[in-house]
């Protein structure tokens, strides 16, 4: 049976399943409706039956391509389970909320297509970009100031919902473990189990940090809060999944085995390129720019450690982990190889899942390091040299595929006068405001860099000139409406932008220049506008 036959069979099963799912949901909706209107005592047996229904959906919907429905059911199940275990009889209004949420889920199901097909990355399609990052707060002392400060950076802050039926689900939760919630925060935080946790504490010692890690924290701060540092962390946490696939260079003289590894990694969404001849390694590194290199150590012409040392001769590749993939079980020989060059050993035979796990963990670390090195400290955006590399990558991709990619030059209008009038602190704040807006409004596949003082560059892959124009124009309008706060004064800032497409300029340098020229036209045309670069006929 071929892969497409399997897909067909799964699609058939899915169609049958969705009929059942609708039925189950309708039953649950009817049951909760009765309970929410009943005046008298609600029987535990009836609640248990609802819980079992939710449990069935939680355990199955994901396997049939409805992961959101499954997650919703799981959240409701956990909520109900807590109630049943506490032997508390919920108020009819609570069951009313459950009833409403079930109806929402049912509507969501009706709205989703029978077969979920991934949309191709073409045209300009907003992703989560159109909504702000949601931050749920369980904080008492500094709540007001924190909400205001984060809102200023474009985050949507609210008090953390305390029941599972809330439709507002945060992306990040910030919990003060020192204040009034010291003993009660965990069950509340559990309601937002998919959110990233940032914990605040009075003590910053090792024990407190260890406890935070055990409590599932991915960020940890002590009072008084360093808000810029907290904001940097949030930005880092919510931008983590917005990544290209990891790239792995596989060096192995066994072509069949290398191909097997390549396919295994590919199934896990990791791109790899195979190099059979050691002599081709440097070209492979330059063309492919891997996040990680896997080396088979027992090759005939040249040993793995020798090859690793060749790679390490070049400063550009210092950040890339070199991992030996080898049948070498002997710890001494492993140590010898590592002493020469290389970072780690994976021992063959290795199961597919272990390979993927090992590669993902190391590639992620490598990616984080490169990001830290290539990112601008103030805005977290890509730095000038790195964005130039990206333009070249998109330019050559566009030449291969024939699809347009766009480069956008953005410059904040009259920035010098903002600095002169309100001070450099406010100038920095305006730069970060625009950086956040760009990051939120552009797609995950887009790259945003800080080019210089108040200049930004965005690279939009698979995007026509017209689509880019529309997207940047929307951002321009939003930015011009944002209120910038400087002490007790409020003012508005604007930007001018120029856009050029890879279809009109085939050289990366010329492309950037064209976008820059268009941006100057926008300035000359009166600022606060977007101009397109048109090639001379």
């Amino acid at each position: 049976m071929s892969a497409s036959d399997i897909e067909t069979r799964l699609a058939e099963l899915k169609q049958q399943y969705v009929l059942r799912l609708r039925n189950d949901l309708q039953t649950l909706i009817a049951q909760t409706r009765v309970m929410s209107t009943r005046e008298g005592v609600i029987e535990v047996g009836a609640l248990e039956s609802v819980r079992q229904g939710l449990h069935r959906i939680a355990g199955s919907a994901g396997s049939f391509g409805y992961p959101e429905v499954g997650r919703d059911a799981r959240e409701m199940e956990v909520w109900l389970q807590t109630l049943i275990e506490a032997r508390g009889v919920p108020a009819p209004s609570m069951l009313g909320a459950l009833h409403e949420r079930l109806r929402d889920v049912h509507r969501l199901l009706d709205a989703s297509p029978a077969t979920v097909v991934r949309e191709p990355e073409s045209g300009y399609r907003a992703e989560s970009g159109d909504r702000a990052v949601r931050v749920g707060l369980l904080v008492d002392a500094e709540r007001e100031s924190l909400t205001q400060a984060l809102a200023g950076f474009g985050y949507e802050c609210r008090a953390l919902p305390q029941d599972a039926t809330s439709t507002w689900q945060p992306d990040v939760i910030i919990v003060d473990t020192a204040g009034q919630y010291a003993t009660s925060w965990q069950p509340i935080a559990e309601q937002s189990r998919h959110a990233v946790r940032v914990l605040l504490s009075d003590s910053g010692d090792f024990a407190a940090r260890l406890q935070a890690v055990r409590d599932g924290a991915q960020g940890f701060f002590t009072h008084p809060l360093d808000i810029p540092a907290l904001e940097r962390r949030l930005r880092h946490l919510v931008s983590l999944p917005q990544q290209d696939p990891y790239r792995v260079l596989l060096i192995d003289d066994d072509e069949a085995l290398a191909e097997h590894y390549r396919l295994t990694l590919k199934r896990a969404g990791i791109e790899s390129r195979v190099v059979i001849e050691p002599a081709d390694v440097l070209t492979g590194m330059r063309d492919f720019v891997p996040d990680l290199v896997l080396i088979d150590i027992n090759m005939p012409d040249c040993s793995g450690p020798e090859l690793a040392r060749v790679i390490r001769l070049d400063d550009d590749w210092l950040r890339v982990p070199l991992i030996y993939l080898s049948a070498e079980h002997d710890a001494n020989r492993q140590a010898q190889a590592l002493a020469q060059a290389g970072d780690d050993f994976l021992v063959k035979p290795i199961s597919d899942v272990s390979l993927v796990a090992a590669v993902t963990a190391r590639a992620q670390r490598s990616r984080q390091l490169s990001l830290a090195l290539a990112r601008d400290g103030l805005t977290g955006l890509i730095k000038h040299p790195a964005i130039k590399d990206l333009i070249e990558i998109e330019q050559s991709r566009s030449q291969r595929t024939g699809a347009s990619a766009c480069v956008v030059m953005i410059d904040i209008d009259r920035f010098k006068s903002v600095n002169d009038t309100y001070g450099h602190g406010t100038g920095d704040y305006v730069i970060r405001l625009l950086a956040n807006l760009l990051r939120q409004r552009l797609r995950r596949v887009d790259h945003v860099g800080r080019y210089g003082g108040e200049e930004f560059v965005a690279v939009l892959p698979s995007c026509s000139l017209a689509d880019a124009h529309e997207a940047i124009e929307r951002i321009r309008v939003s930015f011009s409406q944002l209120e910038c706060i400087a002490g007790d004064q409020i003012f508005q800032a604007t930007f001018s932008a120029g856009i050029a497409s890879t279809l009109d300029w085939t050289d990366a340098e010329a492309l950037l220049e064209a976008a820059d020229k268009a941006m100057y036209e926008a300035k000359q045309g009166g600022r606060n506008q977007v101009c397109l670069a048109r090639p001379e006929a």
């Binding site: 399997i6 799964l10 049958q16 399943y17 069935r56 199955s60 994901g62 396997s63 199961s351 597919d352």
Partner: protein, 129 residues
């Protein structure tokens, strides 16, 4: 190491039973038999002698953990490895299932394209060394 071939799947939800059959038989290439509850699974396991039993935790009648205890009491099914399948994901629960003798735990919902490999990995891990 003996390769994993025969899997007995015990699951009361028929939709899950079917999708697991596709995942294990077609994607994974295993031989699969399915039962709807623990009581039917006991004689079936005895007669068919699967390499591995994939056992749902929450089932009407006797639940997964009880079925495991009964399997361990029968001479002919005592040594058949059992993997639990559960929609609950509390870490302490997983530890508990391992403690009562499960080889491992597969979390629901499972990805039909990945389930077979998951079981193969569990199989390999538990037979190494």
């Amino acid at each position: 190491m003996k390769p994993l071939q025969r899997i007995l799947h015990v699951e009361d939800d028929l939709s899950i039973q079917e999708v697991a059959r596709v995942a294990l038989e077609i994607v994974g290439g295993f031989e699969v038999e399915s039962c709807e509850d623990g009581l039917t699974a006991l004689p079936r396991a005895e007669a068919w002698q699967p390499d591995l039993i994939l056992l749902d935790v929450m089932m009407p009648g006797i639940d997964g953990p009880t079925t495991l205890v009964r399997l361990r009491e029968q001479e002919t099914t005592r040594d058949i490895p059992v993997v639990f399948m559960t929609a609950k994901v509390q870490p302490n629960e997983i530890e508990h299932y391992r403690a009562i003798g499960a080889l491992d735990v597969v979390i629901k919902p499972f990805d039909p394209m990945a389930l077979a490999q998951q079981l193969r990995d569990i199989w390999e891990r538990s037979h190494v060394g």
